[in-house]
């Protein structure tokens, strides 16, 4: 039922966007031929793209961008699956987090390889951000973000390590931690107490991680699933520390709320979004041009300044100042155990949920 509603709303958005494009932009014929539909997460995020990234791209290449709203990556993948079955292309380029990208790559025909000869700028990115599978490069990093440790500096002193969260004398019923098994907290535990990503290789390792998480339960006041829950809880003093998005915490702090996003010695969890070309899209050439544009150091820096995402290049490659870089990025970076999350997802999810469900 929900799927249906979403579809209708989305197709409505699409038609209205198309109508707006047709009526509003009486662009020259050539530009009209070269149109690219790009998906991005809605709201502030999408607005920033429309304001700071797409106009520069149109100016540089003459290709008009039609912005498409994605709710997030996982739900958008369902929409794209259904669209592919129906033979439609809601967006030529979609933005997928890495786990969703790998999932999409495993479904035949859902993604088309990008013509990398037209994306020279991607060679400057850390190879980690360029996802290659048998048909070719299926995803090129767009931007990245960190799930960091946040604290209320008015209430507590900054901990040096994630391990401090387990101290009940300081944190009893005071933490807000992401609830979903793949939200990054398992990776934090693996990096803090075990051997990092390797720990996920065996079921025993996964059980050890969940058992460590179970010890934290007396200190967790809120296991949040929606971003807004944690935002409200930090603002309202329901929690005084926890996990949250580094960039959003920075914006909240700039608005005057007592929140400090920080990197303890083990680091924070880094996830990233990739541009992926729809398997049915006929705009492969335009898409490659956009991916190239978005991979350039200049545009990476624009996104960091204006949207708050971490660049996929080292700071030296961009013209970001130390302060600007620290606002969106940091080190060390904990990289999620994507492989295990996918290949062993049922076991990990059930073990984690069962741990949370114990009274």
């Amino acid at each position: 039922m929900t799927i249906k509603t979403n579809l209708t709303r989305r197709s409505f958005l699409q038609t209205s966007a198309a109508a707006a494009a047709a009526s509003g932009l009486a662009a020259p014929l050539i530009a009209q031929d070269r149109v690219l539909k790009i998906g991005s997460y809605g709201g502030y995020f999408e607005d920033s793209f429309k304001q700071y990234v797409y106009p520069g791209f149109t100016e540089a290449t003459g290709i008009t961008v039609e912005s498409v709203t994605q709710p997030n990556s996982a739900d958008w993948l369902i929409t794209m699956q259904q669209a592919a079955m129906a033979g439609t292309v809601p967006a030529d380029l979609s933005l997928y987090a890495r786990d969703t990208l790998i999932k999409a790559s495993r479904e035949e025909g859902l993604l088309a390889p990008l013509d990398m000869s037209k994306v020279p700028a991607a060679s400057q990115l850390d190879p980690y951000f360029v996802f290659e599978d048998s048909p070719g490069v299926l995803g090129v990093g767009a931007m990245s973000w960190f799930s960091s440790m946040v604290i209320n500096p008015d209430e507590i002193d900054a901990p040096a390590s994630w391990a401090d969260f387990w101290n009940t004398e300081i944190f009893e019923a005071s933490l807000g931690i992401a609830r979903r098994y793949n939200a990054g907290f398992m990776d934090v535990i693996a990096a803090t107490f075990f051997d990092g990503e390797e720990t996920f290789a065996t079921n025993e390792g996964i059980i050890a991680i969940t058992e460590k998480a179970a010890e934290l339960k007396p200190n967790v006041a809120l296991w949040w699933s929606a971003e807004s829950q944690m935002e409200q809880a930090m603002k309202n003093l329901d929690v005084v520390a926890g996990t949250y998005y580094h960039d959003v915490a920075g914006i909240m702090a700039a608005d005057g709320f007592p929140i400090l996003s920080m990197f303890p010695k083990e680091g924070c969890v880094q996830d990233y979004g990739s541009w992926c070309l729809s398997g049915l899209s006929e705009k492969g050439a335009e898409a490659a041009e956009f991916v190239n544009y978005s991979s350039t150091p200049e545009v990476q820096a624009i996104m960091s300044r204006m949207i708050g995402t971490a660049p996929l290049l080292p700071q030296e490659a961009t013209d970001l100042t130390d302060e600007e870089f620290a606002a969106v990025s940091g080190s060390p970076s904990i990289r999620p155990a994507y492989g295990a999350y996918l290949d062993n997802e049922t076991f990990i999810q059930e073990t984690w949920d069962a741990m949370l469900a114990e009274g």
Partner: protein
């Protein structure tokens, strides 16, 4: 005389009405099938589908998701009662929420039906319009009302109740039952907040469901009982309650089934250890595992459970009606 008049009267009217009513009925059945049966069959079909680990799912015919529900994914190595526990919490919260809503709605509606016509209209319009608020709005409202800085904990702190409890040494008790942090009271997340919000959610429905029955209640009955010397409490217990016990039971059952599917309230106010099947279904279908077959299997089980309760309710109320 009267008999012959009755025989003389032509009675074609009902027959004329009956003819199109057959088509009308068939149409209704078709519509019902389209709206209820087809989606249900679709969900049922998906629940037998095959989950591809690390990717999506495909149509198939296997019982693995039902097995997972009752025994866990890793059975027979280990046994997992996680989903049965969640079904239990679905029933638990829905039952308590429905009972509280009806218990609070009953006295309100009783006095409402004793008000002037005009006052009744105003109240009913207000109640009906409050139904237009979605669950999300209501949860947001309670979220703020129960927050540490802006809501009830701040109020308790402001009037000195928190300090009083700390001085008396009773504060520890609230911490033990999970209603306080070392600093102050906290109601999120708690079973208290969950039940409160769920009862609030269906309270207007309870009033509207009880209103017809209570407004039909003959005031003469109450007056007669009072004249014969019964105290007000006695009147309610022995006259009013028995005469509306069927509507009371029926509304509770309806609201119970309605609350089985509550999602937002649970995901915001309930601790993960008290999450219900609705949360689990959402996590399976829309979450990152893309496990629609398992979500569908859980939905089918929830639906069957709701159906069983409705049938049992029907049987009970029939038995109660004849007794």
């Amino acid at each position: 005389m009267s008999l012959s008049t009755a025989e003389d009267l032509p009675t074609p009217a009902p027959i004329v009405v009956r003819e199109p009513s057959l088509w009308f009925k068939l149409g209704l059945v078709a519509l019902l099938a389209l709206l209820c049966l087809v989606p249900f069959l679709f969900v049922l079909t998906i629940s037998f589908g095959h989950k591809i680990e690390g990717a999506g799912w495909a149509f198939g015919f296997e019982f693995s998701h039902y097995k997972r529900f009752f025994l866990g994914a890793t059975w027979p190595e280990t046994f997992q009662s996680l989903y049965i526990q969640r079904l239990g919490y679905s029933l638990f919260f829905a039952a308590i929420g429905a009972v509280i809503a009806v218990a609070l709605a009953f006295p309100f509606t009783y006095f409402l039906t004793r008000m002037s016509r005009r006052a009744q209209t105003v109240w009913l319009v207000v109640l009906l319009s409050s139904l237009s608020l979605s669950e999300v709005f209501i949860v947001m409202g309670w979220d703020i009302l129960l927050s540490a800085r802006s809501g009830l904990p701040a109020l308790l702190d402001g009037i000195g109740f928190t300090d009083l409890m700390k001085d008396l040494g009773w504060f520890q008790w609230f911490r033990d039952v999970g209603l306080a942090s070392p600093r102050a009271f906290k109601f999120k997340t708690s079973g208290f907040a969950t039940v409160l919000c769920m009862a609030y959610l269906v309270w207007p429905y309870a009033v509207i469901l009880l209103y017809p029955a209570l407004s039909r209640l003959d005031p003469a009955l109450v007056e007669a009982a009072r004249t014969m010397g019964a105290r007000p409490g006695q009147v309610v217990r022995t006259v009013v309650l028995p005469s509306v016990r069927l509507p009371l039971f029926g509304s509770t059952l309806l609201l119970f089934v309605f609350l089985l599917g509550t999602y937002v309230t649970i995901s915001v106010f309930a601790d993960p250890s008290q999450h219900t099947l609705a949360v689990s279904i959402y996590d399976s279908v829309r979450g990152s595992t893309l496990n629609a077959p398992f979500g569908a299997a859980q939905s089918v089980i929830l639906l069957i459970t709701a159906g069983l309760f409705l049938i049992a309710g029907q049987k009970l109320s029939k038995a109660g009606g004849t007794a």
